[in-house]
């Protein structure tokens, strides 16, 4: 292969993937490691990469301790109930106690944050969300990262983590290729902060054909963070906790500001309130602890997001769809109407395009809602990701083996979607987690833990061969056929992705089966997944762009396999509305009030599943109120 090999040596901190988590890490790393070498490897351009590429209209995680609004423990309680009990409370508390300082800096850097002129505080959309004009959110945090990093490699897709050959289970950097030049990049680094984002497009999307890119989470969220960590042998947690979102139909426009700030509400096709109808039966399924509409009403404790989805899914299945968002009242107020549109332009322009194309004016017509295909991520209302060590001053022993946010692979840290058990971090929390891991990574190095790392040429050459294999495979076999994309010896990345999506949809509880699966389906799915893996060895890339897609689908495949393993292991329906285990429909607190943890053996590919204890650091709101 004619591509050059470019070696970047002696890196202290490699940031793999610089979205909100990665930029936070690069920025902070410079403070704790002023003489350290900090390098970023990003598959796109950090000015507009990741989930925040088009901007955001709200920062969804802000305590407001400064204005006397919330304390970290309040946020822990909220995220815990929303996730039906399953969170890493130590990591959540830690994120929440630091997150305000990130937001205050954003404002100082020029982020337009809206103010509540009466109270003098930030304008709240809801208890945890503040409103911003966030079109340039990503360029702003990218500027911070660029100022701190020694080098930024844009358009370098990271394919593998390098492992230390002197000490088992220790990271030694990463490799990848430049999507433009084709060069092979080797990053030898003492530590890696993995910020390569969540996974969209692993389940069949509702949109098809030309529209297949219209997914809620960015189509470039290729599950790389998960695949890199899993392939390196890191333990993962909560991978069964995929998320389904209720959004405006087809455009997947956000509903948060609509519900919270614009005070819109939903009804079925016949103008009826439907949600409460489903709650009595649902309460039997999940228990009063997780669904108590009266208590929620009295204490403003929100009803878990997944349970609200459950009501939508069931109402639609009962033939009373579509569900409508009642916008006609609030949109009579010109100010609220403007906010409604800005909300899309700030983060999901496609929804505005769709309404303009279909003449949907929410002032005179209540738009349709739908539930999305599932996504795998760790920073939104979901907690998928790596099993990380927690902060020294908070975490119980089972959650702590040294450095905050370090994974079970030494020297490997993470932020945002990569970290498991910290849902409701969102953009600000992901950035904050990046900062926390960067400080820990510096400490890890200063403590001498990264001494004597060895990477041999044979490891590097082996990986190089593997990285370009899809192109080699194409060259060898393209002339077997006259023309076209049907070849007996290979599939192209799109074909592989279509197959993966169909498989995940039908066997792991996607849209077309109403999010339903069971042990039999999952077992068959896993067998098919193995065969797909064999075929992925024969995926063919005709150019560098397809090579990028080839690696994205390989990463998506690994992520999906882990999702299936976790879903099979947790024998209950913990999050009805996100997915259902038809063979275990109830929440089973007696056996499953635990976190699930997996590890894939990098040598054999076999998964080991275990249950990890769930510690509650914070008492219930009700218990606290009763005292």
């Amino acid at each position: 292969m004619a591509y050059k090999t470019i070696v970047e040596d002696n890196i202290d901190i490699l940031v793999a993937g610089a979205g909100l988590g990665g930029t936070g890490a690069a920025f902070e790393a410079r403070y704790w490691g002023q003489n350290k070498k900090i390098v970023i490897a990003e598959k796109a351009n950090i000015d507009r990469s990741g989930a925040v590429a088009q901007g955001l209209y709200a920062i969804n995680c802000y305590m407001g301790t400064r204005f006397g609004e919330n304390n970290p423990e309040d946020h822990v309680r909220y995220a815990r109930i929303d996730l039906m009990g399953m969170v890493r409370e130590d990591l959540l508390f830690d994120m929440a106690r630091h997150v305000d300082s990130a937001v205050h800096q954003f404002e100082e850097w020029g982020m337009p944050i809206m103010r509540d002129l009466e109270k003098g505080s930030f304008l709240r959309e809801g208890r945890w969300q503040i409103m911003i004009h966030g079109e340039s959110y990503k360029p702003l945090v990218a500027e911070a990262a660029k100022k701190s990093a020694d080098k930024v490699y844009n358009r370098v897709a990271v394919t593998h983590l390098l492992m230390d050959e002197a000490k088992e289970n220790r990271v030694a950097g990463a490799v990848g290729f430049n999507v433009r030049t084709g060069n092979f990049h080797v990053f030898k680094s003492k530590t890696v902060v993995c910020g390569a984002g969540g996974a969209s497009n692993i389940f069949k999307p509702r949109s098809v054909g030309e529209g297949a890119g219209r997914v809620w989470y960015a189509p470039w969220s290729s599950g790389s963070a998960y695949a890199l960590m899993i392939n390196a042998g890191a333990k993962m947690t909560q991978m069964e906790n995929r998320i389904v979102l209720a959004r405006f139909k087809d455009g997947y426009g956000p509903v948060g500001a609509y519900f919270l700030h614009l005070k819109t509400y939903t009804q079925n096709a016949y103008g009826e309130e439907y949600e409460s109808k489903w709650f009595p039966a649902l309460q039997k399924m999940v228990g009063k602890e997780y669904l108590d509409p009266e208590l929620s009403h009295a204490t403003h404790r929100p009803i878990p997001t997944c349970l609200r989805n459950h009501a939508i899914i069931n109402e639609v299945n009962a033939g009373r769809g579509p569900i409508h968002m009642v916008t006609m009242h609030s949109f009579q107020d010109p100010h609220l109407e403007e906010i409604g549109w800005h909300n899309f332009l700030g983060m999901t322009v496609g929804q505005a395009v769709l309404w303009a194309a279909t003449d949907v004016d929410p002032k005179y017509q209540n738009p349709e809602l739908t539930t999305s295909e599932p996504y795998v991520m760790g920073s939104h209302a979901t907690g998928c990701g790596a099993w990380c060590s927690g902060p020294e001053d908070i975490s119980p022993p089972e959650y702590q083996w040294g450095y905050n946010r370090m994974m079970t692979v030494e020297g490997l840290f993470g932020a945002g979607d990569a970290v498991g058990g910290t849902p409701h971090a969102f953009s600000s929390g992901s950035f904050t987690e990046g900062r926390i891991s960067a400080k820990s990574a510096c400490k890890y190095i200063d403590d001498g833990k990264a001494e004597g790392i060895r990477v041999t040429d044979s490891q590097i050459n082996k990986l190089k061969e593997e990285v370009y294999k899809p192109m080699e495979h194409y060259k060898i076999h393209r002339n077997d056929i006259v023309a076209g994309s049907v070849n007996p010896n290979y599939i192209n990345p799109r074909q592989a992705l279509d197959r993966l999506q169909k498989l995940m949809d039908e066997y792991a509880g996607g849209v077309t089966v109403s999010y339903m699966t069971n042990d039999k389906l999952l077992s068959i799915g896993l067998m098919k997944m193995k065969i797909l893996e064999e075929d992925l060895e024969k995926v063919a890339a005709s150019d560098l762009h397809e090579l990028l897609r080839a690696w994205e689908v390989k990463h998506r495949h690994r992520t999906s396999e882990c999702v299936m393993q976790h879903t099979l292991f947790r024998k209950e329906t913990r999050w009805p509305g996100y997915y259902y285990r038809g063979d275990a429909m109830k929440v089973d607190d007696e056996n499953w009030h635990v976190l699930t943890v997996s590890r894939r053996d990098p040598q054999t590919g076999a998964y080991t599943m275990e249950k990890a204890p769930l510690y509650h650091l914070v008492e219930d709101e009700t218990a606290a109120a009763a005292e």
């Binding site: 704790w32 507009r48 970290p72 106690r97 205050h104 890119g213 332009l345 200063d446």
Partner: protein, 160 residues
């Protein structure tokens, strides 16, 4: 809603190629102008639209659910720190112009260069503080939250 490029406006400068997070804006080798090589991987994030100096890139609704005849245009002005939007409905009944700030400060000056700030002390290194903390949490000198300061203790909750 995938993008397309107007033949007469594009001069092949490559800004869109440089910015597209999905790597799908490419320069056509025959015409030396840009085009979207993979519309079904376009998120209509408008990053390329905003980056194009010629306003040559536009977006049309996805063929599988959006009819023709609408438009949503954006002009982003870094100097003025604003973005202007114009939304035209297909039926011509609505034509919205909206303006929003993108930053309140000039670019490139307000984010500190952490190489130049005083190095953290050992005490700070050993603490839970991040850069600019604790001040930046409450904007006063109040310390960081811990379980003790907030009167919390680990509640036995381990179950199997």
């Amino acid at each position: 809603m995938p993008t397309f490029v107007y033949m007469t406006r594009c001069d092949g400068c490559g800004h869109c190629v440089d910015i597209c997070p999905s790597d799908i804006m490419h320069i056509d080798t025959t015409y030396r102008r840009a085009y979207n090589i993979e519309p079904n991987m376009c998120w209509e994030c408008y990053s390329c639209v905003k980056a194009c100096p010629q306003n040559a890139i536009d977006v049309r609704g996805y063929a599988d659910f959006a009819p023709l005849g609408h438009s949503v245009r954006a002009v982003r002005d870094e100097e003025k720190g604003v973005i202007a939007w114009r939304i035209k409905f297909r039926n011509g009944k609505k034509d919205l112009s909206l303006l929003a700030p993108i930053t309140t400060k000039p670019w490139g000056k307000y984010i500190p260069q952490l190489r130049d700030v005083p190095a953290p002390t050992q005490e700070q290194r050993d603490s839970q503080y991040l850069y600019n903390e604790p001040k930046y949490i409450r904007m006063d000198d109040g310390g960081i939250h811990t379980l003790e300061t907030n009167g919390l203790k680990i509640v036995e909750g381990v179950q199997y």
